[in-house]
Amino acid sequence: MAVIDNHTQEYSTRILLVEDHASFRQALAFMFEREGEFTVTGQAGSLAEARAFLRKAPDGIDVAVVDLALPDGDGFGLIEELAAREDVMTLVLSASLEPTRFARAVEAGAAGVLHKSAPIGDIVEAVRRLRSGEALLSPAEVIEMLRMVSRKRQEEYAAKRAIEKLTPREKQVLMALGEGLDSKDIAEKLHITVETERTHMVNILNKLDVHSRLQALVFAARHGLVEIR
């Protein structure tokens, strides 16, 4: 973590870079610094380093550029902490292709989100626009993102409820399915008849609201009930 105490550049935009790929973070710092109007006051490679910087220099930044995937966790909590500070804006920079992660970042308080496939000039320009008071996201985009997060949460809640309805035996059947076993093999493994296995499977399909063994398997893998190796 680097901290630059620079009271003389009071008119420059002070930036905290939170990014675990050091060579890119340093290149990004270089890009900002060469513009003259920006000062990179801190660089952090993890959430812990970012929080240590914020404790040490609580009023030391105007804009935080935050990667979502950091070695000690995702950046959503940090974005919320930054959003709680007055006059600090967060630009999220992520390699993730999942729209819901960007949406969650906006929900957490990010003022803008950019994918790392963006030209480097766009990142610098985005910070400049944020500082000039320009919105990077339209109200319609923000609403759509918040809706997306809401939908995702509802799906996760429904999935959790469905999983809670499964009996321990039904979970064993699902795990055996995850091992690639067919009806006969599952029955043998669990010392039950094939008919009983099929009854369990029908109940599983009903509880998970899916229509096939394959769909049940996908559901189970997606929600961590089985591990596909």
Binding site: D20, H21, A22, S23, F24, Q26, A27, L28, F30, M31, R34, G45, P71, L93, A95, H115, K116, S117, A118, P119, I120, G121, I123
Partner: protein, 130 residues
């Protein structure tokens, strides 16, 4: 702008002219990394000739640009067979990187910008000794 295609066997006079002016091909993902690191190399090593291409154009660009060094996310067989200095930077978006300098392999758990500049310098030295 992409450079015009070179012939396979470089003219000796042309080779002498560009001696000490190493060529670096940037073909890593994502784009922000590629462009940001290229900008730093361009500014801090002004003698270096840099070309930036999409990763999918790596092999064709090696053939055409004949770089002394390549920075990419996934080293191809063409790269390994033709370029003496290359860096596999954050393959699969991980944190480690691998550098090959004249056949010597070095693994970096957290490669820094000065490491990359140092490898560029070594590529220049190797190009100058050819």
């Amino acid at each position: 702008m992409p450079k015009p295609p070179d012939s396979r066997s470089e003219d000796p006079a042309k080779a002498r002219r560009r001696r000490g002016r190493p060529r670096v091909l940037m073909a890593n993902e994502p784009r922000a990394y590629r462009e940001g690191i290229a900008a730093v190399i361009g500014q801090l090593r002004p003698a270096v000739e840099i070309e930036i291409v999409e990763p999918t154009a790596l092999d064709a660009s090696i053939e055409r640009f004949r770089p002394d060094m390549v920075i990419c996310s996934k080293a191809t067989e063409t790269l390994k067979g033709t370029v003496r200095v290359w860096v596999e930077l954050y393959p699969e978006n991980g944190t480690s990187s691998v550098a090959n300098i004249g056949g010597r392999r070095t693994e970096y758990t957290e490669i820094q910008l000065p490491d990359l500049l140092s490898i560029v310098d070594k590529a220049g030295e190797l190009a100058g000794t050819n």
